[in-house]
């Protein structure tokens, strides 16, 4: 029987905990570390893989400044509206009234504000070139997400721009739901707020204008 799926060559057998690459930065600091790598070795392909607590809370400064400098690496931002790694605390992306371990009565937006839309926020900056929000809730979305991530890496390899792909996903464990319910909840609650789509694609715009 032929193989139907092979692990990509880029994935090694190294055991890593939350960072799938070859370096671990502290909570939120991955874009600064990626900047360090990219500035001294622009030929290397560099990406950061960050969650919503990491990127939108403690690492807000690092991501904004890296994006604004147009560092030519790729950020994959996984948004599941909760701190997953540490056990389900409230994240800056937690939805209004959503219950978490640190918002047991639901997120009170009068007290802590509305969830942060990172893709929208970064798109307000002039420098970053490619920003898209995708999701992996269903196969039709996964195909689009894959395309977006591929495009982000191509832009990096062409040394074009900073690229940012937000991936709206679920966290059944910390949401206290079955996987099926969590997909439904995400579609009903997250997607209307975190609208999918391309927020910015400067390389494509420039290509169009050139034509």
């Amino acid at each position: 029987m032929g193989k139907t799926f092979l692990k990509p060559n880029s994935l090694s057998d190294n055991h890593t905990h939350y960072c799938p690459g070859c370096k671990e930065a502290a909570h939120g600091r991955a874009p600064a570390m990626a900047t360090g790598i990219k500035r001294v070795r622009p030929d290397l392909n560099v990406f950061t893989y960050q969650g919503d607590g990491d990127l939108a809370s403690i690492g807000m400064s690092e991501i904004i400044h890296s994006a604004n400098r147009g560092e030519k690496f790729t950020t994959i931002f996984v948004n599941n509206a909760v701190y997953g790694m540490t056990g389900g605390q409230m994240a800056p992306t937690t939805m209004p009234n959503q219950k978490t371990t640190t918002s047991p009565f639901g997120r009170d937006v009068k007290d802590v504000g509305m969830p942060i839309k990172m893709a929208n926020l970064l798109a307000a900056l002039q420098t970053p070139g490619y920003i898209e929000r995708t999701t992996v809730l269903k196969p039709k979305y996964i195909v689009k997400a894959k395309k977006a991530i591929k495009k982000a890496f191509i832009y990096q390899m062409e040394k074009k721009c900073f690229s940012f792909v937000e991936v709206v996903s679920t966290c059944p464990t910390n949401w206290g739901m079955t996987p099926q319910d969590s997909i439904k909840w995400a579609e009903d609650t997250l997607l209307p707020y975190y609208e999918l789509g391309v927020f910015k694609d400067t390389p494509k715009m420039e290509e169009k204008n050139a034509k």
Binding site: S12, N14, T16, H17, C22, K23, E24, A25, A26, R29, A30, P31, A32, M33, A34, T35, G36, I37, K38, R39, V40, R41, D43, L44, S61, E62, H65
Partner: protein, 359 residues
Amino acid sequence: MAKVLMKGNEAIGEAAIRAGCLNYFAYPITPQSEVAEYLAKRMPEVGGMFLQGESEVAVGYMLFGASACGERVFTTSSSPGISLMSEAISYIAAAQCPVVFVNIMRGGPGLGGILPSQADYSQSVKGGGHGDYKLLVMAPASVQEAVEMVTEAFVLAEKYRNPVMILGDGLIGQMMEPVEFPEKVAAKPSDKSEWATTGMDTRKSDKRNLVKTLFLDPEELNRHNLMLKEKYKKMEAEEVRYSTYNTDGDYKAVIASYGTMSRVCKTAIDMLKKEGIEVCMIRPQTLFPFPEVAIRKAVEKKSCKLAISIEMNMGQMVEDIQRSVSGIVPVKWYGKCGGEIPTPEETAEAVKKYLNNEE
């Protein structure tokens, strides 16, 4: 090469370039901003890289990233900035990356002041960041020595795969003195292919290098930390550096002092000598590893009644001296901690007072 008159901060920047370090990340802070200002102009001239990070927190990780892929890299900052970098310093030490840090100290705690101080002795020597780690800490006493130590710092950082801290008080950065730079690249780069994440296409082997600091398995973390400990022990055995002053005669006290303060002590010792009072000095050039043996031997002399730590802080080195003399003589402290540097006259007077109390 001919001598040039240069400010310590600028000389430190130039020394790093001469040592073959062409990557510099920094965030401005008084009293060392001249390093960034100097290198902002100088790095492009030599094909180097300078990036002003958005914060010292970010700069710490820029250094970590750059070093993890095998490039020589350094930064300069001052006390509050080093506090912000301390998180990254802990990671860098754990991941064994050879980054060189320069701390041109100012008075603390808090915002403190911007005048010379040595208040970050403990921060550098005992930790500062979290976890079990050590920095190799060097304390220059002149602009020339700062240049030499910067050069050596890159060699030592790579030899031990460990961050090195150059700890200078504000005056070392601000003072102008004649300096002579080494003609050529003075610190040969080491082979980093065994550990650095340089990219698979640049390496001959298929082995993947991984730079990490997370060891969730307690046995693995234990092994890792013991390996670090071995490294620190090796530093203690091989890298202690110090100089001595007036140790020949029958001195009554041993002064331990470093940086600018040690030069004031030198003049104070000369003044006391004229009055017939013999005092000697051990000047640690490395604060970790600490010249324990030298200090112990110095106080073992029969005539010696006393050891005095003279520093521009509240006496942070006293514990290390106490450890070194292990009760043979009492250990005192003299210094100022507000940014003012004691004069030789004041220092000599303080030493005399202690000696009179002993008799």
